[in-house]
Symmetry: C2
Subunit: 163 residues, 2 copies
């Protein structure tokens, strides 16, 4: 069975998953956020098949999440770099990192820590805020249909998270 | 080719993806966050095959992201509800929703809006903060190896996001 496409779904989460939701893609992006740029480096670090890696990098480039340019020191090699659109994905990766550290911990402690690049100070992390700056828990938030909502979104907004 | 497993990777993002990174899973969770609980409702709303839906719900239940209990009004039906561990995934979905609305917009406007449940006021959204409460951009953040880091994580932390 084909895994199907979310491209026709009028939902921002589905549209994001259509671009970054394939198996391997978010780990490729994790490495791009760390500063990795070369095909061979991604391939070696991830232990991923070259066909899959090629396909994922091509999709990310077509979707303007990465740019692909010739490496300055080697005309046969290419460098993949995050665009502004790609850099804007960082809250997704940070949210996944925080969840994994908290809910699937390594008994020896944190595997990765996020720090401010300028100072090395640990960052506070990700937070969902109200308009007046309060931290919001999932039960305090509801998704409502916007002006571009379709029938599926209206259907979802009739439900309510049980408390 | 099998898509492979990230279970052996000592990385919090890989461990999160191992639990919620399969195709369809985050849309099932989107619906669970909206308050949907029944197999038939998920199946009808998502237009997903029953085999795939069964497999995804079973995985999410085994990973203690959802609980599965008999429906009070119909002994043959089951209800799937988010656990505390599952509710803690909400920043991932909100980050995906924000990215999709901004970078793959619908010309008619927002498809979904997040509001405070008590007041209906729009929320400010997701933010990555420093310890002293400043909003941080991707170039201001670095991932460094923690005490439980393995060789792969140390390797990644030798790179640096180009500015």
């Amino acid at each position: 069975m084909s895994k199907g496409s979310f491209a026709e779904m009028n939902c921002p989460i589905a549209q994001t998953l259509e671009r970054v939701g394939e198996w391997w893609t978010l780990l490729i992006l994790r490495n791009a956020f760390s500063g990795m740029t070369r095909f061979d480096e991604f391939q070696q670090h991830l232990g991923i098949g070259t066909n899959v890696l090629s396909q994922r990098l091509r999709s990310l480039t077509e979707d303007e999440i990465l740019t692909r340019t010739a490496a300055p020191d080697d005309g046969r090699a290419f460098e993949y770099r995050l665009t502004e659109r790609g850099l804007a994905l960082y809250p997704i990766l940070i949210a996944m990192m925080e969840w994994g550290e908290k809910w699937v911990p390594n008994p020896k402690g944190p595997r990765m820590k996020l720090v401010e690049r300028g100072t090395g100070e640990p960052i506070a992390g990700i937070c969902v805020h109200s308009a007046d700056g309060r931290s919001l828990q999932p039960h305090e938030i509801a998704a409502v249909a916007g002006p571009a909502a379709d029938a599926k979104t209206h259907e979802l907004s009739c439900y309510s998270l049980p408390v």
